[in-house]
Amino acid sequence: MSSEAAWVPVALSASIEPGTSAGAVVEGAELVVWRDAKGVAHVWEDRCPHRGMRMSFGFVRGDHIACLYHGWSYDTAGQCRHIPAHPDLDVPKTIKIATYAVEEAGGVIWTRLATAAQAADPLPTMGTNLPVRSLYADCSAAHALAILKQTQLPVGKDETYPARLQVVTPHAWTLEAGALSLSIAVQVIGPQKIGLHILADEGSVDLIAALARWAQALRLALEAPVTVAEVA
């Protein structure tokens, strides 16, 4: 479990293009991640106060996001500004969506599921910013750690090297193999579901495709049935 002060990843920055939104779940909490036309990322509770529709199904216009159901439109503070069925209404201040702190660093969108008053942990620094991919797998974070301790990373053409794993924070892991530095921002979706947002150092641009294939194979390893011996 993460403390509410912890920064948790919800997406690779590159996956949320300006003017778009997507859903993300952190330990069961449904979130909408969206980026306004100016390029600023936002993370909110994924629920329109009107009928409970997920805002991640909605659409971004400029610096507002609107609900797909009835077009209720919210500004970057989560405040409802416009209700199409009542265009002349001065929208009450109480119609507001819960918003969370957002930081973008190293190619990752991080959020903190805490109220503004709570002190924040420092953002994890991982020293990588080339996106490889986000990988979603049905397993626990602990299981992923155990598998990654034994992984081999591609370091050149048809060449792999055993990786050294380091846990920077519960949500930021790094892997090093030869000159390659890889980092993984770990999104715990549920007890048996994780999102791994994987990035590489800038010197490894020629390895990105090989690393994406490595990640694809990693998911097979993460989801392979666990043998009794391993459990014991």
Partner: protein, 210 residues
């Protein structure tokens, strides 16, 4: 009287695939509405005379009667578009287009079936179908991750083809059968690019706004 007639049901995603193709190519056509739900009209004797499988869509083009969604897409893209941009014939590209077009008819059959169970109440094991559909969507997302790294936005060529067209509705409509888009960032990116192609149109279940 138009040369081309589509036997159609508005909520059927395979009919949507053909409507999309007709729209992208700007082909004039007539639509004959078939009472698929709840009437099962496509399984009646009149429709079985056109398609013995008793399924939609069916396309009539002059004397030619075609059934099978992917066959109809191939026909339209070659017979009604001189440049054939949706089905390029350069051998390696053609083969890749075929692979992914067939994927839509084979690996994604479970997704189409899952949506029928979820939306129309057809008999079937929704949980098993959805599990299988998720695997197929993962294969598609994995592919598009690599395509994007290689600098391409489409499944089989550097432009959209019938492979993209035949795969897309299963992802665009996946919320109908309980699979959200959260886990498929590369497919979200692809869907956004597909939506802005000239001639794109939606169907119920795919938002007009995005």
């Amino acid at each position: 009287m138009s040369e081309i007639t589509l036997y159609n049901h508005d909520l059927d995603e395979n009919c949507y695939r053909v409507r999309l193709m007709l729209s992208f190519l700007g082909i004039a056509h007539e639509i004959v509405a078939i009472d698929m739900v709840p009437g099962h009209e496509e399984k009646g004797p009149a429709m079985r005379a056109l398609n013995p499988l008793g399924s939609l869509p069916i396309l009539k083009d002059g004397d030619l009667v075609l059934y099978g969604t992917q066959a109809i897409l191939a026909h339209l893209s070659r017979a009604h578009n001189a440049a054939g941009v949706w089905l390029p014939l350069e051998p390696a590209t053609f083969s890749r287009v075929m692979q992914w077009t067939f994927f839509s008819a084979t690996a994604l059959a479970c997704a189409i079936e899952a949506r029928r169970v979820a939306v129309f109440g057809t008999a079937g094991d929704l949980e098993a179908l959805t599990r299988e559909a998720r695997q197929a969507l993962r294969i598609m997302d994995d592919h598009m991750v690599l395509r994007h790294i290689e600098g391409f936005e489409w499944f089989a060529a550097d432009t959209p083809t019938i492979a993209d067209l035949s795969l897309l509705p299963s992802f665009a409509l996946s919320r109908d059968y309980g699979i959200d888009h959260d886990e498929f960032p590369a497919l979200r990116r692809w869907l956004r690019r597909f939506r802005i192609l000239p001639g794109f149109r939606t169907m119920p279940g795919i938002p007009d706004y995005h």
